[in-house]
Subunit: 309 residues, 2 copies
């Protein structure tokens, strides 16, 4: 899909290149989006077909002028991606991200932003892509907690504009593998919505009340249906409540609720987290996930090429 929104002068191309998706925007110097393109050619796809042709194809769809700078965030910078953009290690200021960008040896000025690593043996953790969203939604002196739900949900503590610690929860991926590959496949309808409602809240409350019992609570989703207490139609929402609740109760203990939480979410998942965070006593404000990526890419691009815009 390609849309053209304005005739202002293009300054650079912003690319969010994830594991299984590609999104790019033709950007004006003032941060206006001039055109957009999306595809399913994520890192996994490109690892076999190559990255340069995919980028070239999408630049064509955006009608980007030749030699326009390109700034990329996400898994394209992983070791198994296009070229490795080595992790910046925490603690690190978000406005230093641009300094870690790696230039790709290809036509034009194409750079990939680095991910972040928490290189502590007791809490090893990594992110790629979310650091750009963080840059996008925070002011230079921001202090607080950010929650980015997803396949691998991230919780990040930021102090005075620097990421000082973070934790990844396998919430979204566990939902998928448990509902598709475990005995709970009989307790969750395929392609069921895990939209909120009573079953979601019940799962959430179970997790908040007994936060060490997850692997037992999962089996009880099946047992409750076998015993006629619950319906299969409720299974997905209940499983979602259990997993999101398990994440939030641990994050609450680790990151505290003293700071307000910025939730970088979108659509259904954003709504579920907003409900769950509020139920857990967090003060929440929301930002859109795609807008966060774009804003982070603009900020970094201005630091890299601002004089040329």
């Amino acid at each position: 899909m390609t849309t053209t929104a304005s005739s202002a002068t293009p300054a650079f191309v912003a690319v969010d290149w994830g594991t299984s998706s590609f999104r790019a925007w033709l950007m004006a110097a003032d941060g206006t989006e001039l055109a957009e393109t999306r595809g399913s050619e994520g890192m996994l796809h490109c690892a076999t077909s190559g990255f340069a042709p995919v980028l070239h194809d999408h630049l064509g769809k955006l009608r980007a002028p030749a030699e326009l700078p390109v700034l990329i965030c996400g898994m394209a910078g992983a070791r198994q991606g296009w070229i490795e953009a080595p992790y910046l290690h925490t603690p690190t200021r978000l406005d230093a991200l641009h300094a870690g960008a790696i230039r790709v040896e290809t036509g034009g000025d194409v750079r990939i932003l680095p991910g972040l690593a928490q290189a502590r043996t007791d809490r090893p953790d990594v992110m790629r892509g979310e650091e750009t969203q963080l840059l996008g939604v925070t002011e230079p002196d921001f202090s607080g907690t950010v929650c980015i739900p997803g396949t691998h949900s991230k919780w990040i503590r930021i102090e005075s504009g620097a990421v000082v610690g973070f934790a990844t929860y396998m919430t979204g991926e566990l939902f998928a593998v448990i509902s598709q590959h475990s005995i709970l496949m009989h307790a969750v309808e395929p392609n069921a919505s895990s939209e909120g409602g009573a079953a979601f809240r019940a799962g959430l409350e179970t997790a908040l009340a007994a936060p060490t019992s997850l692997t037992n609570a999962l089996f009880r989703v099946r047992a409750a249906q076998l015993l006629g207490f619950e319906q299969r139609a409720e299974g997905a929402a209940r499983l979602s409540g259990l997993l999101i609740g398990s994440e939030i109760v641990d994050a609450h203990a680790r990151f505290g609720a003293a700071y307000p939480v910025r939730l970088i979410g979108a659509g259904r998942l954003g709504r579920l987290y907003r409900e769950a965070l509020a139920a857990s006593g967090f003060d929440v404000s929301e930002c859109d996930a795609e807008q966060a990526s774009r804003r982070g890419l603009i900020k970094a691009a201005r630091q890299i090429w601002g004089a040329r815009f």
Copy 2:
């Protein structure tokens, strides 16, 4: 496989018919095994091919005399099994299991023992097969806690010979689906042993120290390898330690360590649990899982047909 051990008079056939396995023994009245047969024709197999021909085939391998009574435990009695043997509800005495046996309409006297259900809306749970192992390893006035590790690990509180409560943990199944279908497939070697050792103990200690952090600790298995802190060869043992530790820390809180624990285990898994239970402060005694099933079937058979033996 069929082995013949003695020429004593056969009294009945004991069958442990699980989800994916079939085991039967030709038994003398005094509890001696006279012959054994095993196969992979579990409930899932028989749901399409039928149960009667499989039993008939194995009775032939055992050279069981015609019309010898047959007593079955396990998933053959599930709703989706041969014939449903409705659950006995907790609290229930284990020596009342035989009274819930359902006779199958087939040649000879073939009966299936019931499973147990904890029909509480706040803690719904079910078992099929383990109740017979419990009968096998407990005296009529037994009080204590029993742990049965496996795909779906069970923890059972027994008071004066009656099951008063139990909990199922999806430990073994989560190990399988996470190591085969999630991003941890890159962090766990296929068919790797999760035998004990330093990585198993490290996973265990992580779970015991931070029992609400499982879904974060899982991701850290991957992150630690990306950052060069751990090796892929250690991944399976670490994952196993995390999941078994999560089970045990919750069971410890729920069932307490005041009573000694009887561990019904076998082989590698039994050794892992023994180590983990000891590390968690439990006083453990062990019983063999197959022997437990056989002894439970013998006890129940004597109650049903004792006068005829």
